[in-house]
Symmetry: D2
């Protein structure tokens, strides 16, 4: 941490800041500059809270230096984490594709789509049983019945299943059926849920919040790892910006940045980023090319009948085309 003083800060103000640093148990090191004094904060274990010093008299800025995360950091663990689900390894350089409908609507719907995506080459099946919906009047998912359908899909197709958990009450239920537990965008900072996921034996797919910085996202993963669960998969799905020609703005620079900062695998969800079908394949190709560890894509055989998110769901034949296209890109970079 670096505390930057105002150019006109008095010697007494500087002394008071040094004293405040020491009172917190840190070392204060004055660093005289051309125009102003700065004070380095040393001997800290982990990040220091900037808020402690930002309001003191004569202080112009407080600049964090240390990153706040530990367990998720590549500095703590230089080698990539590989998450194993069923026989599938996520993060080992062989990208995975997770596909399925937004919501499980019926056993028939789930099985039809599951057969399609498996034959096209998907590795895991996704489908929501508990759906977070902006409106209390929208379809909220089939709940336990949906989970049971997911189990049938796994049994019939052999694909591990990914499904979202919405709260701590239904956590055990979801955990009993899911191979990978998804924590959604709106719950990225639901800390009680993160702690419970930290105690789970299941891998967790953690979606980035709608306006989350990568620091905040990695800190959410840190909650899970701190609880003892090291199997965390990050999922970028677009952030909210002023842009409205897509539902969200897919932030692909997150991939190289997360790779540099963390050892955790990162996949991309182009469907929620786009919010409209005609952008999903181009964004999926871009995600493959940027170096993501995989994709999560919404597919529906009757998107105009879907109970949620039909507009962004690919038709099975479009999904098969997507797989063919991204496979060629993945093939180029597999060994690079």
């Amino acid at each position: 941490m670096l505390i930057v003083m105002e150019a006109q800060a008095t010697p007494d103000q500087i002394k008071a800041v040094e004293a405040a640093v020491k009172a917190r148990g840190y070392e204060a090191r004055p660093i005289p500059g051309g125009e102003r004094m700065s004070i380095g904060v040393l001997r800290n274990k982990g990040a220091v809270d900037a808020a402690l010093f930002v309001g003191l008299a004569g202080v112009k800025d407080v600049i964090p230096v240390t990153r706040p995360y530990k367990l998720v950091s590549r500095e703590t663990r230089p080698e990539d984490t590989i998450v194993h689900v069923g026989g599938i390894a996520i993060g080992n350089g062989h990208p995975v594709v997770i596909a399925g409908p937004c919501a499980i609507e019926s056993e028939e719907q789930a099985l039809i789509i599951a057969r399609h995506v498996k034959s096209a080459g998907a590795h895991l099946f996704r489908g929501g049983a508990f759906k977070p919906r902006t409106s209390p009047y929208s379809f909220q998912g089939l709940g336990l019945e949906g989970l049971k359908i997911l189990a049938k899909v796994r049994q019939e197709t052999g694909m591990p299943v990914v499904t979202e958990v919405m709260d701590t009450e239904t956590f055990d239920q979801v955990e009993a059926y899911a191979d990978v537990i998804q924590i959604g965008t709106r719950n990225m900072q639901n800390f009680s849920l993160l702690r419970q996921a930290g105690r789970s034996k299941r891998p967790v797919l953690l979606k980035r919040g709608l306006a989350a910085t990568i620091d905040e996202w990695l800190m959410a993963a840190e909650y899970i790892m701190e609880g003892g669960n090291t199997d965390v998969i990050l999922c970028e799905r677009g952030v909210r910006t002023f842009v409205h020609h897509s539902r969200n703005t897919l932030d692909l620079s997150a991939v190289p940045y997360v790779r540099r900062e963390s050892h955790l695998p990162i996949i991309i969800d182009p469907s929620h980023a786009a919010g409209r079908r005609d952008q999903v394949i181009p964004l999926a190709r871009a995600a493959a090319a940027v170096g993501a560890d995989g994709l999560m894509v919404e597919v529906h055989h009757q998107p105009d009948q879907a109970l949620s998110d039909g507009a962004q769901s690919l038709l099975p034949e479009q999904f098969a085309s997507l797989i063919r296209q991204v496979d060629q890109i993945f093939a180029i970079f597999k060994n690079s």
Copy 2:
């Protein structure tokens, strides 16, 4: 809902869209324009999901017309909602001030601050017992002990207390001690928590999410009202933008907009918007002038010792000055 067709849409595409509208149980009304056809969707009860039609062949845009919310809408209830807490009415034209520390740290700390803010003119006391923290290593609040301290503050000062609930497990505990239950920014779309708040007898203070549109915020309030709890207070606390000279960007146009759209009271939290002490009083004055129903402000007698958010906490004498300033502004507009 208005479905706008491409200029080159074929008659068959137009017919297919009309059929899709009818298949959902709505009426389709063609509206020929200068360059293209549009199709109005009529006979809907409540908002229609744009996603149902956005991907159909020949469709250029789908434009919602009806607002998605009902119970929170001023069209449903033209007169202002007034929320009563203790002897205090929120939303009746007499603005309220809620003040206290970010977190309850000890009985002594809470009582000292409570006496200060009460003597300065605060109406309600705020303080966190369960704290949502970005880092798992930060102080997480005193929990139940903090709630008991809040009860003592109420007993000694007579001020009703506002405190945040973080999850459904601790909801009953919080409800047992709090006069107003706060749902924080990160939980604005924690739908399980919203539903539980909807079953509570306590008023709910619902903070706006970091990147929430007002539609989404009002829909979160709709979840609470739909559960039967009509005592919802909205609280604007800044949104996340590219701006970094304040922690968040306070969106004061939310006040006239919410007033037009909804009958619910709306207050402003300048402390979390600013994130730094020197902007809190100017923003509080602006909030009073824009017509908010009240303020929520963080105060600490030893901000450089605070366990959280010290940088944005006012000193007691600064808070007293804030009250004197905003009272003059409130006085001007009381009867306007």
Copy 3:
């Protein structure tokens, strides 16, 4: 400038960075921390370009400490700048109100509105002769004829006039007629125009860019001051965010922040921030309360006939009401 090294940076990498700092003529000071080395860059005059060091091997972050601006900085000039226009002083604690139509449409229109706003209490008249328009097919302003009408307004009402300059070709023309030259949002970083404004004898009203940080805005003012023109008035008019219930998001924290960083006066344009009439008066009140040095407001006697921006223009009686309201707020804080 502080260069933060990776935790695993080698001694050779650290030496190479020190050498790179020295090669630029600065002093390099190593600052060992708990987990990593940082290197302070000293003996710089003015800000150092972070880009010089950000890509070097072993470098994690490069953190600027010195602000890039000099002449606009309050550290350079502690006392407030007061800009004199006609007999009016801007920035001396007596707030000014600038009002008029978006565009000058005719002599009759300009004079009718000018008389209205003057009798309501406006100090300066505004009106566009050259209009920056998103569409080439929209009304582009009356040009020279509009400037001549502005001169008539000044002659008849005694109000100094503010009008926008769009390019260097028409600069002299605008300068010959205007009392204050406005540089608009889209031209905030039109550096050729800023340099020409720097050579002008007229005060310049510099609007903030749609996505400009305050540093960038102050640097644009620095261009003008560096050219020799010290009469710069800053104007905040809303920034672009994900929010769409107002046209832009008014960033009122800019006022206390600019006051701290710079000696230049700052006024607020609530009309362009709101983009719709019903939010203008509430935001104008907020602007007065936050401590701005003045307001710029669009007024039109026939807004539904206006050739541009009618939706955000106040009717004359609404403007008179605005003046009455903000005057009461200004009166409270005049001497505070």
Copy 4:
């Protein structure tokens, strides 16, 4: 255009709105809905200004239907525009790569880099002679001398050259030397410059503004096309968001969206989006995969000595690697 009335709008208010529509020369068509009346605006040529109606009594919303652009629209010209520069065609399915330093610093520097990028496979050379700089104290480019160096580069390497024009004064100079005239991000809405570019015989590379919607960007291109210059190349280079792990957020969904809306070619500049070298190659691969017509990349043989933007410049061997990687991606999709 659709004008949506409040649910409580009176018949008189509805009639007044219809009259206002007719007074503008349009046809008003009432469209009764379940809860409210809407009024369609017909017989308009081109987009209608929403501002005309948004403030009328009883009006809740005004929703544009027609896109504001004409000449750039794919509805006007269904086939792709191909821009020819030297012997190179941009937009014909064979992607182009434009490369070179941020700024021309000397003949030696320009020639060294030009030979590198040509041998690696670049088609056009880029380099700034006039540099828009945030600070008046930064290197502003070599001006005319830089243009002459570009001419030498073209003569020696045969590569056409792209360089930025900053203002109308130096337009003719730039036009005399450049093969493609670049209009930069900060000048995207410098309408005087756009008009002059519309009268030029040179192709124009139009960068997207930092916070420009695609509608605004296409309208800027419309200014150029309306002046008679049909050779416009769009260049996405990242937009400003809350994200700070890259300098800007690359908005790749712009590519499929622009392709749908317009016939103009679109290329991607990953260097300015990233702002740091380690993200440039991943983003360039993503840009190739998303379907862009080309790339513009900054390259410098001594980036730590560069006078501007060194941090984001690739070394020549990195650029060669980039070309090899994107060529493989381009090869996949060439015929798809």
